[in-house]
C-alpha cells in the first residue's frame, strides 16, 4: 500500500464518521443527547441513565467497531466485551447483590401482609403483556415489555436479555425513565382511586424486628422462592445473599463492597452496555414507541393494582390500613414509598406513612423478580 498525501487524506476522510454516518445514527446521537439532558438536568435516575445515554452515543458513531465481535486473530471492540456481562446474564444479579446489601427488609418482616401489596402491584406487568400481544408483539417480546411494569431496572434488563434482546435499550430506558417519573405518574391515580377519608388513615407503629429475624429472612425468602420458581434463582438468590451479608453483621466488609464499589463498577458497565444496544436500525422503529407507550400503561396499572388491593385491605382491616401504601408496591425503591408519604401527609399533615410504605416497596422488588421468573419459565 502506498501512502501518498492525497490518497491518505482520502482514506482518512473515507473512514471518518462524516463520510459514513447514516441518518439513523445521527438521530440516535440526538436521542442520546436528550437522555443525557434528562439524566443530568432533570436527574432522571442518573446513575443508570447517564451511562446508558453515553453508551448509546458511543454505539452510534459510525465506523468505530466498538460493538464488533472478534474476527479471526483480531480482537473485538471494547463495547462488545463489556456487553458480555449483559449477554451472559451476569451484571443484573450482581446489581441485585448490591441492592440486597442496601435493603432493610425490617418493615416487611414487621408486617408480612405488605407482600400482598407487592404482588398486586405487578398487575400492570400482565396488562401490558396482554396489550403488547394485541399490538402484535411476539409472546417473548410482550413479556419483556410487560416487565417494565415491575418498576425494577435490573429485573427488566435481565428478563429482556433472556427473551428478546432487540428491545433491550427501549425497555431499559422506559423502565428507568418511568421510575424517575413516579412522582408524576402515581399521585393522580392515588387521588382518583382513594377517598380523603382513606388517605387520612394513620397506621399503627410497626413493631421492632429482631436481628435474628432479619438474618433468617433472606434465607427463608431465597429457599421458598427458588423452590417454587427455580428460574428466579439468579435474581432472588443474589438479592438475598447481599441482604444476608448485610444483616449477618459478621461480613460487613463484603456487604460494603457489594453495595459500593462492586455495584458501581457493574453499574457503569451495565449502563454503557445497555445503551450500546441502541443502534439506529433496531431502535428507530415504531416498536420503540409502542414499548414506551406500553411501559407507561404498565406503570399505571401496577399502581392501580397496588391501590385497589390497598383499598381492599383498608376495608378488611376495618380502616387500619391506609390504601396509599399500596402504590408503593410497584418497587421503584424508595421513590414510590416517598410518594405515599407525601400524599398521605397532604391528606393529613400528621400522617407518616414512609415506614409503612417501605414494606410494600421492598416487597415489590421480590414481586417483580418473581414475575420475571415466571415469564422466563414460560418463554425462556
Amino acid at each position: 500500500m502506498t501512502y501518498s498525501l492525497t490518497d491518505t487524506l482520502i482514506r482518512v476522510w473515507e473512514m471518518s464518521g462524516f463520510a459514513n454516518a447514516t441518518w439513523q445514527q445521527l438521530v440516535m446521537i440526538l436521542v442520546s443527547f436528550v437522555l443525557i439532558y434528562l439524566a443530568v438536568v432533570k436527574e432522571f435516575e442518573p446513575l443508570l441513565l447517564l451511562p446508558i445515554a453515553f453508551g448509546m452515543l458511543l454505539a452510534n458513531f459510525p465506523m468505530t467497531g466498538l460493538l464488533e465481535g472478534p474476527l479471526g486473530d483480531q480482537p473485538g471492540g471494547l463495547l462488545y466485551y463489556i456487553y458480555q456481562g449483559v449477554e451472559l446474564g451476569i451484571y443484573p444479579p450482581l446489581i441485585f447483590l448490591g441492592i440486597g446489601a442496601m435493603t432493610d427488609f425490617g418493615p416487611l418482616i414487621a408486617r408480612p401482609s405488605s407482600l400482598f401489596l407487592g404482588a398486586a402491584a405487578q398487575f400492570g406487568i400482565y396488562i401490558a403483556f396482554l396489550l403488547a400481544l394485541a399490538f402484535g408483539f411476539a409472546p417473548e417480546a410482550a413479556a419483556a415489555i410487560g416487565i417494565i411494569g415491575g418498576a425494577d431496572g435490573p429485573t427488566a434488563i435481565w428478563l429482556t436479555t433472556k427473551l428478546y434482546q432487540d428491545l433491550l435499550p427501549a425497555i431499559a430506558i422506559a423502565a428507568y425513565s418511568y421510575m424517575a417519573l413516579i412522582p408524576m405518574i402515581q399521585p393522580p391515580l392515588m387521588r382518583l382511586l382513594t377517598t380523603q377519608k382513606e388517605r387520612e388513615v394513620k397506621m399503627e407503629q410497626l413493631r421492632e424486628v429482631s436481628k435474628a429475624e432479619k438474618i433468617v429472612f433472606p434465607i427463608v425468602v431465597a429457599t421458598l422462592c427458588i423452590f417454587l420458581l427455580p428460574s428466579v434463582a439468579p435474581l432472588i438468590g443474589m438479592l438475598m445473599l447481599g441482604n444476608l451479608l448485610k444483616e449477618s453483621g459478621v461480613t460487613d466488609r463484603l456487604s460494603n463492597t457489594a453495595q459500593n464499589e462492586l455495584m458501581n463498577i457493574v453499574t457503569i458497565f451495565l449502563g454503557v452496555s445497555v445503551g450500546a444496544k441502541a443502534v439506529g436500525e433496531n431502535f428507530l422503529q415504531l416498536e420503540t414507541l409502542k414499548v414506551i407507550a406500553l411501559g407507561l400503561i404498565a406503570f399505571a396499572f401496577s399502581t392501580v393494582g397496588g391501590l385497589l388491593l390497598g383499598k381492599l385491605m383498608y376495608w378488611l382491616s376495618g380502616g387500619k390500613i391506609n390504601p396509599l401504601i399500596g402504590s408503593a408496591g410497584v418497587s421503584a425503591v424508595p421513590m414510590a414509598a416517598r410518594v405515599s408519604q407525601v400524599e398521605g401527609q397532604k391528606a393529613n399533615p400528621s400522617n407518616f406513612l414512609l415506614m409503612h410504605a417501605m414494606g410494600p416497596n421492598v416487597a415489590g422488588v421480590i414481586g417483580s423478580a418473581v414475575a420475571a421468573g415466571i415469564f422466563f419459565a414460560l418463554f425462556g
Binding site: 408480612p112 405488605s114 398486586a120 405487578q122 453483621g249 416487597a363 414481586g367 415466571i374
Partner: protein
Amino acid sequence: MSLLEGLQILVIGLGTVFLVLISLSGAVALESRIFSFLNKSKKENPAAEISTTPEKSTVVNASVGELKLIDVDERTAAMIMAIVSDESQIPLSELNFKYIKAIN
C-alpha cells in the same frame, strides 16, 4: 399467541405471583412467631445463648462509661468517637476520650 392464551397467562402469572408472595408472607409470619416463642422461653431461661454479636455496642458503652459527657447526648458522643476511631484506624478501646463537651 392468541389473546385468549394471553389472558390465561395473565391469570396464571398474576396468580403465581400472589401464590409465591402469599407463601412468603406466611413463612415470614411463621418465622416471627417462632422467634417470639423462642424469646419468651429464653426470658424464662436466661442462661440460654442469646445474642449474635452484641459485643460492639458493649465496647461503645464501656468507653462511654469512662467519659464525661457535658451537654452532649450519648448518641452524638458515640458518633464522634466512632468517626475518630474509624478514621484513625485506632480501635475504640484504645482511644482515650476524657471529655466530649458541647461548646457554648
